[in-house]
């Protein structure tokens, strides 16, 4: 394994940890709003780290671009869907959890 491979491995592992944290948040957090926080942000970072890791290994610049495009699309969809779900829940009277 070269240095680049180690870097890729480290980034991939970090990404996997964020995916794991997102799932933990989805399971542990008390209401739909807090779960949205966990999913949107943790998965976005997780996928981002993995994309960067795979981009290091990519065979061409266009492949790097395609990876970034995929990430950008997931980010856009994730942020918008999070907003829409939170908005819908608010309108339907789902009260935010308070301590």
């Amino acid at each position: 394994m070269t240095l680049i491979d180690y870097l890729t491995a480290a980034l991939l592992l970090a990404g996997a940890i964020f995916f794991f944290a997102g799932t933990v948040g989805l399971l542990r957090f008390p209401d739909v709003y807090t779960r949205l926080h966990a999913l949107t942000k943790a998965d976005n970072v997780g996928l981002g780290l993995m994309v960067v890791a795979l981009a290091i290994q990519a065979e061409s610049w266009t492949a790097v671009g395609k990876l970034l495009l995929i990430w950008l699309l997931v980010m856009l969809a994730g942020a918008s869907v999070a907003h829409l779900v939170a908005r819908g829940a608010l309108r339907r009277g789902v009260r935010p959890w308070k301590q």
């Binding site: 957090f29 807090t34 949107t40 970072v45 907003h83 939170a86 829940a89 309108r91």
Partner: protein, 158 residues
């Protein structure tokens, strides 16, 4: 809609096509009509917005860093056995002009540490915050400033 902004969108779509096809020049037989069609539909759907392109160079690193911190923050709270959260709903008075800048702000906020946009009304953004004890207000103001610069507008003052 200005010719320049149409040209920029055309370049953007061509770039996407170039990425998709792995730079294959033989693909432009289909690529040119596809880009043209996408452009026509895009112009029909999306009103013009005056992005200041060079501001992107400043915004992107800021956004990447803050969203990374957002992920770290929420991951830490989720994994911590005590689960340190104190969520609250909060109304932020928007000073950005309506339309694209406000939508852009709403989407950005959802990826930054501890904030989630929950409703976009006229000139107010309902934000769900994960920890109401933190300084999320300063953060929101900073983001709004940056979005305003990105769209080449100024914030309204009350």
């Amino acid at each position: 809609m200005s010719g320049l902004s149409i040209l920029l969108r055309g370049i953007l779509f061509s770039l996407i096509w170039w990425l998709l096809t792995d730079g294959d020049t033989a693909s432009w037989w289909i690529g040119v009509p596809a880009v043209a069609l996408a452009l026509i539909i895009n112009i029909a759907l999306l009103p013009s917005s005056n992005l200041v392109w060079h501001e992107f160079l400043i915004f992107v690193p800021f956004f990447l860093l803050r969203s990374l911190l957002g992920g770290v923050d929420v991951a830490r709270r989720a994994i911590d056995p005590r689960m340190p959260i104190a969520p609250a709903l909060f109304e932020y008075p928007l000073r950005l002009p309506a339309g694209m800048p406000q939508v852009f702000m709403a989407n950005t906020v959802s990826l930054l540490p501890g904030t989630l946009s929950a409703e976009l009304c006229t000139n107010c953004l309902k934000v769900h915050v994960l920890d109401s004890r933190g300084g999320f207000l300063a953060e929101l103001e900073a983001v709004e400033q940056r979005v305003a610069r990105l769209f080449g507008t100024s914030l309204k003052t009350f």
